[in-house]
Amino acid sequence: MEVSMEWDISTLEELEDKIWRCTACGNCKTAYKFGPPPEFGEICPAGVEFGFDGMMASKGKIAFARGILDGQLEWTDSFLDAIYKCTVCGGCQNQCELDHKPFIPEIIEAMRRKAVSDGVGPMPAQRKITQSLRDYNNPYQGPRRVRTDWTRPFKKAKKPIKNINKKPAEILYYVGCTGAFNLPARGVPTATASIFQKLGLDFGILGENEICCGSTAMRIGDAEEFKRVAEANLEMFHRLHEEKGVNTIVSSCAGCYRAIKKDYILAADYDKMMEGIRVVHTVDLLNDLFKEGKLKFTGELPLKVTYHDPCHTGRHLNKFEVDEDGTKLWKGAYVGVDEGECLYDVPRDMLKAIPGIELTEMERIRDNSYCCGGGGGVMTGYGDWAAKNASKRIEEGMRTGADKMVSICPFCHYNLNEGAKRISSDMELVDLVELIDQVI
């Protein structure tokens, strides 16, 4: 399929003015909150692992971007490696207060886009992702038919899940490739569909016709591949709204959710394509139903848990205010941030509402959550490091005395469990929907 929509995806050169707004003060290198009491924590997975200033936080990445733009830095294998050794978690962005703050992940990804357009990126292991996207419309090299394997128990139990291409439904459950193809993460769609069925929601899935949201392609700099799948999805969402009555898209995947909410809006046709459709994360939907009294907990889970905020449902959903025309502060000034869409309280509220659950918090949470290490293409490109970083997060969870760690992202689900295995920890990461499914 040819790309046909107009997209507002910046090149590195277009971001040059923002790049020069960085003072190199290094505020981004560690997380800090005033308090009292003051709170400090490491925030940059790449900085923790690799240490050199260039590898660390936005200060380092901005240095790389400057070096590219001023012609001092040319592509080498190790330079590329350094650019891709970043989880694009936004932890550094959360510390920054300068005018380039809203654009920090964009600048990192723009370097990757430049690497891809120059024919040198992404990293070899990541090329499998984009090739797989071209061949299979998913990053897991999974044949289409495998996409519905997780639904077999439902068929067997004579509770088949509606194929939205054939039957209309108000809710499209957009499963996502990780939940569908990544075996350890399949519990996420299974629990989601089970809950929806128990609640009697009118929902359907795309089944074998679902294609990747494009998030991973975007994160590793392959904007063309992202646009291809994103346009196909936007057109499909529009058609489903027109023809099948879909008015809500639900995602249990933080990556898909972030992509549809924040990357798809870069399409000029976004408003037209998404008119009449709202996009929600599963826990948001369930929380609404809980508050309306439609979701009731009937069981009890005597568990002490801690909650891991995924980057993509947390700080990546920040809405930044930029003074574009200089009427408020000055042209291009970063004015403020709205965290209203960040899913910090909703999952915690749901956890606390489950009878028997005791929520205990880790040191680094909410906007200063420490990334699991799997984002930004790192899980594919640098699996060992991703798992090693996840081990650090698991250890942080273990220090709370919790029995389990809970999250709302299949990527975090897979990676944190890999991290637990790596250090032979009993700590298991479960998705919030997996817990909810047990008690309704």
Binding site: W20, T23, T30, F52, T76, W330
Partner: protein, 476 residues
Amino acid sequence: MVAEGKNRILEELVSIVGKENATAEKHIRYAYSYDLSFVKPKLPDYVVMATTVEQVQGVMKLANREKIPVVPFTAGSNIGGLCIPERGGILLDLKRMNQIIRIDVESHYAVIEPGVSHAQLAMELYKHNLRWSWPVGPPSASVSSNALCHGIGGLSGRYGLNSEEITSMEVVLPTGELVRVGSCAIQEDSWHSVLPLPQLDGLFKGWLGTSGVVTKMGVRVHPIPPLLKVFTVSTHTLEDMTSYMVNLGNYEICDDLTAVSWWLSQVPIPYPYIPKPDAAPEWYCFGTTFSWTEKEKEAREEIWQNVLEEEQKKGTSIKYADYPEEALKARTQLPSQIVGSTKNYTKMAGGGISWPGTFTPANKWAPVYDKWKEILIDHKLSPSVRATNYRGVHYGMLRAMIPFNKKSPEETENARQAIVECLKVDLDAGGIPYKPPVDFAEEINRRAHPGYLSLLKQVKNMLDPNDIMNSGKFGI
């Protein structure tokens, strides 16, 4: 041959610190080539991260043998270009030596490694209701580097510079030899005091990383009294403000007594220069004072009220002034993400900030400021100036925070010229710059007593016979 030599050096560095901690890759070196200041970027030839004292010694021995410059680096957040490698060489990044070795809650000192950040120390000290003299800088900045370079903080009005709070040090000399100064030199585990021994700590304090690598440091920390009061006034002139600050400073009741010009009280600093509104006072002052009891607080307030009345009777322009809540926080706690930190000073200009930062006696503040104001406005820069009393009225600081657009070489050079011009004015008035870039060092040396320069050279030569430590920084 050159490449072969570089490879050999890199191999040796790798053998000391490990493959993952030594590199000559250009992109890694590039990230250490510039900082916030106007100082021209320069690349190191190698970057090395040490994690142990033995590794630091190994690097120094190699560098000394090969006569390779070494630039010690912790966070690189100073605004004097102090970590820019003037002559290339090895950039020795110490951020991974970041252990808080001890907090002695009875004797009120902490022992830290060079990579310990203000944020890290703040969190740990607070657990014991203790504090440090937090500077107005990024939380990621290094405590020991700030102290070594005569940094200041929110307790400097009471206790003096952060360098005066150093109680002991372990140092690797440029030759690789390990030495100790202060009580830890006599008893390995004793870090409480530099005195009554000869003050050999002076061989490393204020030397801008040119005399050795400090690998452990003892620093005094202080209890946090529960009651804070901030005295805030405004005046139309710095003469009037100086009169008030000297008067109040006599009583030695403030942890911090600082005045800022209207332009510095704006966050961010206006860039380019704009005139202040006519009705707005030109100077604002805050004096922080902490008390253990309400009665003590009332007594301190009484002193302040008396001083204020005395100043008003003199017919000066002094008035009580409000000070924004968030700005007060910035003056009393470790700044982060709020007004008052360096990053916010500069954001309107775009990426660059530097200063004429000086120690200047209070009686010279006003005449120097008047000239600075002329120079800065002439360069279309805001006279965003700060004046602070240290240790009561014993000495004072005068500095201008000058943001500039780093993307533009012309605007950067404009700022540099203005800053150097300001510096000359201050030097001629008897002030002394601190954390000076090389441009400043040359101006200082031009005015220095020959005996001072000779002594400086002799000491430097004794400690660093091959002139490898942060070479070129002193302009000697």
